[in-house]
Symmetry: C2
Subunit: 385 residues, 2 copies
């Protein structure tokens, strides 16, 4: 039984439904951000992030900074890129394009490889692009929340290391960390930026990232200073190292309450093998995608290999509008999100299935959502062809 | 009776002790950041900020963005300053210098008027500086948390408007908003940046700011784009306007829980006239400063007119170390902060007295702190000369 008041079940691709204990940690009494109790909590949270990202390389460096997930793009653009540097952006939707825009603000020369809606750039064209120019950084959106397209990181990284070994591989993992497998060391990634409010299951307000030793060296070897002050990883690096070593230090005040909630969420995540967590998200996703197919609906991500496991972007039937269907789901206690990809925004809806909603089946969230979707569509006059 | 577990009373210059209802709001169940319920909450919080800042000018614009207070410096530097612009920084300590560093990162040509420790730059020298060069922006730290020095905004603004009327007046109000009077319209300020965890009484994690119509025009008339993506006020402006108009829109995901807590804190603040709130902080501060003087201790801010009302920076007696005294306060259930100003860090301690600790005298926080200070000093062998 949840201690939360009754409320609509939030099944958008983030924020997700939160566990009671995590929400309880949000109301932790006030503590000094440099006091020993909080320093220990923050340090443990950083160490736990290493396990979630499956990195044991001591050169890897986690960062937890107050901000939205979007701040992660600025961290990459202001610290690993200098004005005039070439960056290759693999685009699978709205959020990949946002990352490209952010890189441009900091002076990067961005080349975007854009896939058609619902697809991802293919390895041969990526190889061609990498052969034509030397890129300092390549960015890939692991799951683009606008399309539900999943990128394949392992083979991509193998390709980059073979064709352009000096290029840093940076992953936008906002909608993938803690629901899709990420083997940071094994896949030789250089950076993964994410946020707290998706599969990690902690309320919004934290930018969470992991950078490789190689990325930290790139930061240290910059010719120009980082192009941000609050977002300078040079400013944050000693602070994160001190917190993890349980030593107090100060650059800007972190949010003790959010860090407590993150600590609780990570403790819950690591109580079981992370492989089991990824498998459970895949199982739930498979079940959801089958049910959606059985309703006669199509996904934006047409190819099963390209489909994310923490969300599903669903095309609406011909004569059903999202503005008509979403309120019908709402009246059944289920909140889905509308479309956000400019080219097709009005033509689809998004169903997020991450965290407690898939890991605690006794909540019944997924069944409730699928039933609401079926009944809501029927009320809109839809019949399967 | 508080519903919080027993814990040391946090009397550092932020984060402060929080009210039960505010902490309870931190564990609000998950909501969509674009759903009508949360949009209304966010919109109301923005409207309440106008009242706290005492602005009725519809051209004034509040912003609430996930981040630390430090992010406010970047908002000013990345949006109101372009590379090569001259900025005059009035320095009253560590945080004024930090603001200057941040401005430099974004290409500002910074001139710093530095006062000796515990003092503030005087009006005649500010007038001289303003006459020598045309500054696009002047920054002033209302209360520098490193020294407890209070700046006088009203007369400063009159001077700037008389001598250099085109110069934007930007206030770092991190340690002053909601405990020191700020009459945004009447004093013709152009920007005040602050954070949630000090006198506003909401946990850390929100950068809160108010900009004038003139500042927004400066933003709109930039020759170059804002030098930040997450921190671009151009990106946030329509979002804030939409939230306040109760219309959903999206740039980066805000923290619904922190915004709920802010809403609760602002509702509590505005339940009484703000003038009364400022007067109560002043009364408590006067009482504390008298008690500290009675103990034979001196403040960093020697001149009573220069003393902040939400904190006190106290010189340690000759033979007492902060590293010795602070644990003795800790064992009495009181947390003070150490010194942070580079020139005198080891020679003083800081006592924060903001929010519920001064507004709810039945808590007894201030008496407990003064008693702990007296007894702790005695245990360190201090006797009043």
């Amino acid at each position: 039984m949840s201690s939360q008041p009754e409320h609509p079940t939030l099944l958008i691709p983030g924020p997700i439904e939160f566990d009671d204990a995590v929400l309880h940690s949000m109301s932790h009494y006030s503590e000094s951000h440099v006091g020993p109790a909080f320093v220990a909590t923050f340090g443990e949270a950083l160490s736990m992030l290493r396990k979630l990202f499956q990195t044991t390389d001591p050169a890897s460096q986690p960062f937890v900074i107050s901000g939205s997930g979007t701040l992660g793009w600025d961290l990459v653009a202001a610290n690993l890129v200098e004005a005039g540097d070439d960056v290759l952006v693999l685009s699978t939707g709205y959020f990949s394009d946002g990352f490209a825009d952010c890189l441009g603000v900091y002076g990067a020369k961005v080349t975007e490889l854009k896939a058609p809606v619902g697809q991802r750039p293919q390895l041969p064209e990526i190889e061609r692009a990498l052969s034509e120019k030397k890129y300092k950084v390549l960015t890939v959106t692991h799951v683009d929340t606008s399309t539900g397209v999943l990128s394949e990181l392992k083979k991509l990284s193998e390709l980059v290391h073979r064709v352009s070994p000096d290029t840093l591989i940076i992953v936008d993992g906002v909608c993938s960390v803690a629901c899709e497998e990420i083997a940071f060391d094994e896949w030789k990634l250089d950076g993964v930026v994410t946020a707290s409010q998706k599969a990690i299951g902690c309320p919004a307000g934290l930018s969470i990232s992991m950078f490789s030793g190689r990325a930290i060296e790139t930061l240290k070897n910059r010719k120009t200073p980082p192009a941000s002050y609050f977002g300078s990883l040079k400013n944050w690096l000693p602070i994160m190292q001190n917190y993890e070593a349980k030593k107090p230090s100060y650059f800007a005040t972190p949010s003790p309450q959010l860090v407590h909630a993150l600590h609780t969420a990570l403790t819950q995540i690591l109580a079981r093998p992370v492989a089991e967590r990824f498998a459970k998200h895949k199982e739930a996703s498979d079940r959801i995608k089958k049910a959606i197919g059985d309703l006669g609906l199509k996904q934006l991500a047409g190819n099963p290999d390209d489909q994310a496991h923490g969300m599903t972007a669903i095309y609406l039937p011909e004569n059903v509008k999202g503005t008509e269907l979403l309120p019908k789901l709402g009246s059944r206690g289920v909140v889905f999100a509308g479309g956000i990809h400019k080219e097709v925004a009005a033509k689809y809806i998004r169903f997020g299935h991450m965290g407690v909603s898939v890991l605690n089946p006794e909540r019944g969230d997924i069944e409730k959502a699928l039933k609401a979707l079926e009944d809501g569509l029927a009320e809109c006059g839809y019949q399967k062809a």
